[in-house]
């Protein structure tokens, strides 16, 4: 068998490893478009703060990791899939035949439609190459404007503050991390950042960017204010890298469409990770989650389904995120905004920057979000995904959500429940 994996991020690498595990004799190839060893974008913020060097971002650390597993890595951009001939074609015209193909091409930053967005000095922070540029430009004392305070914006925000730049953040929504935090907790993060000296503008849009001379940029905000910056970093969301797949005839929506076996509209082609519109555990709907744990789980399920005799259905992933914004840790899980006809309980401690919000449907936890909590947060995922009936603990949690760990132990762990 010949397995070709397009994309050298976490989904591509985990899939290739899983394919090797299940099919020791197969021919396995990863084709990635970046001129780097497979690395993790998740680690880039820590590279920006110089907590790690470039090799610290690599997905696998051993020199011979891929060759020992007989996984070939090719650095080329795939531009077309010839599904009739089971062949992928690269930018330079090389062709690679496959029996089964996995598309794990990830996502790219979406470019906001702002005049001046293509000026020098405006950068994304997505690839290792972007990060090198930011390290070069975000010198101590430099003025930096960050467009977007979503997950990626916030994770970069921390790195920028640690680099001692003068930082201004502009976010269109009325709070920070709007896809992870509600108004209460999203604004607690905002207040936290402001206290640390970051200038945060929510409900604000950059209308245009212009050159202000001397290498500086001027960013005009809606409402008339403008901000001067040495560097503008955009983090306004990502979109799946799938144009080549669409052009090759695969069906798509927000991402490449798959069935519950992560198989695309072509039976020999599978998809995983940020490019894949896979099933959401909580809603049953197909969405692009674009998170690390989902990428890895997609990869394992898809790889299994690509190998004869290992077919398994993808039951869906709980959407979840964890973020550290200048030391304030936030997390969200599942239906953190609530379920229709459900109940919720909330603990707010504005002064201590602690927050916990639990969302229930009947006596089952279906979503949660937290701020300032770092111990045992994983049980929130555990309770959501196992759909554990909470029984009497539902009412106790309605009164005091902080008893979540007791509820978990009492309801989930047989050794406790039977005693």
């Amino acid at each position: 068998m010949i397995y070709v994996v397009v994309g050298a991020g976490p989904a591509g690498v985990v899939a290739a490893e899983q394919l090797r595990k299940l099919d020791p004799l197969a021919n396995i190839m990863i084709i990635g478009s970046e001129p780097e060893p497979p690395y993790s974008r998740m680690a880039i913020p820590y590279y920006l703060t110089e907590k790690i060097d470039e090799s610290g971002t690599y997905l696998r650390k051993a020199d011979q990791h891929y060759s020992l597993r007989d996984i070939t890595i090719i650095q080329q951009r795939v531009t077309k899939i010839d599904t009739a001939m089971n062949t992928v074609i690269t930018e330079s015209g090389e062709k690679y035949r496959y029996d089964k193909l996995l598309l794990a091409t990830g996502a790219s930053p979406s470019v906001p439609p702002v005049p001046g967005i293509d000026l020098p000095g405006v950068h994304n922070c997505w690839t290792l190459e972007d990060a090198r540029e930011i390290v070069r430009l975000a010198r101590p004392g430099a003025s930096v404007l960050l467009m977007g305070a979503g997950f990626i914006g916030c994770i970069i925000l921390e790195s920028l503050v640690l680099r001692d730049v003068k930082l201004t953040v502009v976010e269109m929504e009325n709070r920070m991390v709007p896809r992870m935090m509600n108004e209460v907790s999203g604004n607690m993060i905002k207040r936290w950042c402001e206290q640390k000296g970051v200038d945060v503008h929510t409900s604000t849009r950059a209308d245009s960017i212009e050159s202000a001379g001397g290498g500086k940029l001027k960013v005009n905000l809606n409402g008339g204010q403008s901000v001067e910056a040495d560097l503008v970093i955009t983090a306004t969301g990502v979109k799946s890298n799938m144009q080549f797949a669409i052009d090759s005839g695969l069906h798509s929506d927000q991402g490449i469409l798959v069935n519950s076996f992560l198989q695309t509209s072509n039976e020999d082609v599978y998809a995983a990770g940020d490019v894949c519109q896979g099933k959401d555990f909580s809603t049953g709907e197909y969405t692009v989650q674009a998170i690390q744990p989902t990428a890895v789980e997609h990869a394992k399920v898809a790889a299994g389904n690509m190998v004869r005799g290992h077919r398994s259905e993808h039951i869906g992933n709980v959407n979840m995120n964890v973020l550290d914004t200048l030391g304030l840790v936030s997390a969200s899980f599942g239906l953190w905004m609530g379920a229709e006809g459900g109940d919720s309980s909330e603990l707010v401690n504005e002064d201590a920057y602690r927050y916990l919000n639990l969302q229930f449907k009947d006596d089952v936890l279906v979503g949660a979000s937290s701020l300032g909590l770092t111990q045992h947060v994983g049980v929130l995922r555990g309770l959501i995904q196992s759909e554990t009936p909470l029984g009497v603990w539902k009412d106790r949690l309605m009164k005091d959500p902080m008893r979540i760990m007791e509820a978990y132990l009492a309801c989930s762990q047989a050794q406790v429940a039977t005693a």
Binding site: P10, V14, Q18, L22, S40, M42, A43, Y46, K51, I52, G56, T57, Y58, L59, R60, K61, Q292, P293, V296, E297, K300, V301, G304, H310, S312, E313, H314, I315, G316, N317, M320, N321, V322, D324, G327, V329, A331, F333, T374, Q375, H376, V377, G378, V379, L380, R381, G382, Q385, S386, M405, E406, Y408, L409, A410, S412, Q413, A414, Q415, V416, A419
Partner: protein, 156 residues
Amino acid sequence: MLKSLNIDPGKCTGCLQCEMACSLENEGVFNTAKSRIKVFTFHEEGRFVPYTCTQCDEAWCMQACPVDAIVINAATGSKDVKNDLCVGCKVCTIACPFGTINYNADSGKVVKCDLCGGDPQCASACPTDAITYVDANATGLDKMRQWAGKTDNAGA
């Protein structure tokens, strides 16, 4: 034969010797807040439940790690955090459905039970045998793993 921690909450008196021993062994201080094993108190029933990582086969933490910083210890079967590689991204802390790998803000890394390399100090310190270190198949681990199976997405 791999060994694992066997926890019998019925025998636990809540003395917290395990937490003290864990903290001393791993952090060099007697500070229960730094322990990797936690004793939870059920006030209504007057019960105590020691709780830590079961070193589950699924190794959600290890799977989710984006920088290969969690590895299997071949000698004990434990899943160990490599401090020099952990960047502190915390993805493992939300991926682990048992909540047994946690972020330590002081070190900027995550911490979890590593069975003290094969001589778990919590078990040694426990005066009532509520925590013992025994052959893996003799423990209630299977039950917990069964439960873990309910959250297993990968199937294979």
